[in-house]
């Protein structure tokens, strides 16, 4: 039987403004996890009942560690950011369907925006063949050096132009015209929508990782919706169970 697990916090430190890296020792999850999956973190605050979904950024199967990178945006993440090394945190996972990696595919394009960048790192590690990485941030970039370990082709855009080109990742894509067979992308919804449309224009396959507010995290409660095509009709799919990674052809962007 699956269950909630207790993870030991090995590291929990700020890596950029309002952005934290957390290393968890939780062998059961590390053993099963694959890139693009997420875990549920439970805060200790009794006023907050629901778990916080956070993507897995890196997996160390040998040590039984997983790394998360998270932004402090509200009560839950703020609470989690105050936990100490050695503390225990309740978690559940790995959850959801991650990215599909095929050995057949040789040209990979990774596109990340903001807090959508971390889930792409473990993916980058595992891909073989050509790979280029396009990352957009509001101001302060994260994880750039980590991506550079796996490819020379890491391109940055920031909204204020402080790092890389001034603008967003779509601008980067349009100026670099990357070639490839498969796009893997995670980031804010407007970015994903633009990526999907760029991919369609250029006839490239794309796997997009979505975010939605969740309750159960395992597909039972139907609160996490992704409007998706369904033959000639459409339906709401579950981001937690059917996703968080969807094919670009599936997603309907009008909501």
């Amino acid at each position: 039987m699956k269950k909630k697990l207790t993870a030991i916090i090995k590291k929990n430190q700020q890596i950029a403004h309002g952005m934290f890296e957390m290393l968890l020792s939780v062998g059961e999850i590390a053993a099963l996890a694959s890139p693009g999956q997420f875990i549920n973190l439970y805060s200790n605050r009794k006023d907050l009942l629901l778990p916080r979904p956070i993507s897995i950024c890196e997996i160390d199967k040998e040590k039984g560690f997983i790394k998360l990178v998270y932004a402090v945006v509200g009560k839950g993440t703020s609470d989690i950011s105050k936990m100490h090394v050695g503390d225990i945190i309740e978690v559940m996972g790995p959850l959801g369907n991650g990215f599909t990696i095929s050995k057949e595919i040789k040209g990979h394009i990774i596109i990340g925006g903001g807090i959508g960048v971390p889930p792409l790192l473990e993916l980058a590690k595992g891909l073989t063949g050509e790979m280029s990485v396009y990352l957009g941030f509001r101001c302060e970039p994260i994880l750039v050096e980590e991506f550079k370990k796996y490819t020379d082709k890491v391109y940055i855009a920031t909204e204020d132009g402080g790092w890389g080109i001034k603008g967003n990742v779509i601008g980067l894509l349009k100026s670099n015209h990357p070639k490839g067979e498969m796009i893997y992308s995670c980031g804010p919804k407007p970015m994903l929508k633009a990526v999907a449309s760029w991919a369609e224009d250029n006839d490239i396959k794309a796997q997009l990782s979505l975010e939605e507010r969740m309750a159960c995290g395992i597909g039972a409660c139907l609160v996490c919706t992704c409007k998706a095509k369904d033959n000639n009709d459409w339906q709401y799919k579950r981001v937690c169970k059917d996703g968080p990674v969807f094919l670009r052809e599936e997603v309907i962007w009008n909501e």
Partner: protein, 304 residues
């Protein structure tokens, strides 16, 4: 030591214990089946199902509140045919009672689901009368005694399984609604469904939920749920299934003492996927600690 008897009887259907799942929080058991041995549950109450597939509401569908949550799923479901094809066979592989929660927008829609289930292997029907009645301008079926009485009477005519009527708490007088349901032939009553609530994102200056309002569940609502179960139990003779914010065995005991014959666990599943089992164990512990013969000597045994 002998384990205490936990069996309870709802309208002639014997549950091995009083712990059920609350409709809509447990799917049809498939997902939580990876976390919980479904054979250990008194019953699985499935997500509300309608005569045809419903798409549900646009997102955002969930908002967290203090000690609770709002949902506005809008009864998304695959329709009764798909349900019969997939969910009943899955659940039947387990030794637990199957309770099918039924949704509709008109009386006819409810009836067509009940009729379709007549020949199917399910143990109990649960009529969710919290749905808006489209013919009556969207007024909730369950808020008017006349409507409740008429509806339950019609459904009873065709129901082949015992009928639980699930009440909405968004009413002035739960007692009169419970009595109306009983008078019309309800075999059991379950309560409470969610309280109508709202949350606002003060940064975006927008309601959090796409649907603006949603249903409040979780421990925040427990005192209201408990009061209604207590009032209803003192007003009707049919068994009551109590729910609303049950997180622990102690919470469940409160409902049993107030007069519920069985209880259902909803939001707690999201906090702890094994909540149903932990609650069951908590109930058993209480009976042992208080040296009771069995569960039935707890039910409704409140000293006033």
């Amino acid at each position: 030591m002998n384990r205490p008897g936990l069996k309870v009887n709802i309208a002639g259907v014997e549950l091995k214990n009083p712990v059920m799942t609350a409709s809509g929080t447990f799917g049809s058991g498939l997902e939580y089946g990876e976390y919980v041995d479904l054979n250990k549950l008194g019953g699985v109450v499935t997500k509300g199902v309608a005569s045809i597939p419903w798409k549900g509401n646009a997102g955002v569908r969930v908002a967290e509140t203090y000690g609770g949550m709002l949902n506005s799923v809008g009864l998304q479901n695959p329709g009764i045919e798909e349900f019969i094809k997939k969910d009943i066979p899955f659940l039947r592989k387990h030794d637990t009672k199957i309770v099918v929660n039924i949704a509709g927008k008109t009386l006819e829609e409810y009836c067509s689901v009940v009729e379709r289930l007549a020949g199917e292997d399910v143990d109990l029907l649960e009529l969710n009368i919290s749905c808006p009645n489209v013919k009556e301008g969207g007024v909730c079926f369950g808020t008017d005694t006349k409507m409740v009485e008429y509806m339950v009477k019609e459904v009873k005519k065709i129901a082949k399984q015992p009928l639980i009527v699930k009440l909405t708490p968004n009413v002035t007088d739960i007692v009169s609604i419970a009595k109306a349901a009983e008078a019309a032939g309800a075999d059991a009553i379950s309560l409470i469904n969610t309280l109508l609530g709202m949350a606002i994102d003060i940064h975006k200056r927008r309601p959090v939920l796409g649907n603006i309002v949603g249903g409040l569940s979780g421990p925040a609502i427990k005192p209201v749920a408990l009061r209604m179960v207590y009032q209803a139990a003192n007003a009707v003779k049919v068994p009551i299934i109590g729910m609303g914010g049950i997180m622990t065995g102690e919470d469940a005991i409160e409902f049993l003492l107030a007069g519920a014959t069985a209880i259902a666990v909803g939001t707690a599943n999201f906090v702890n996927p094994r909540a149903t089992i932990d609650i069951l164990n908590g109930i058993e512990d209480y009976i042992i600690k208080h040296k009771e013969k069995d569960i039935t000597s707890i039910i409704g045994s409140l000293n006033k």
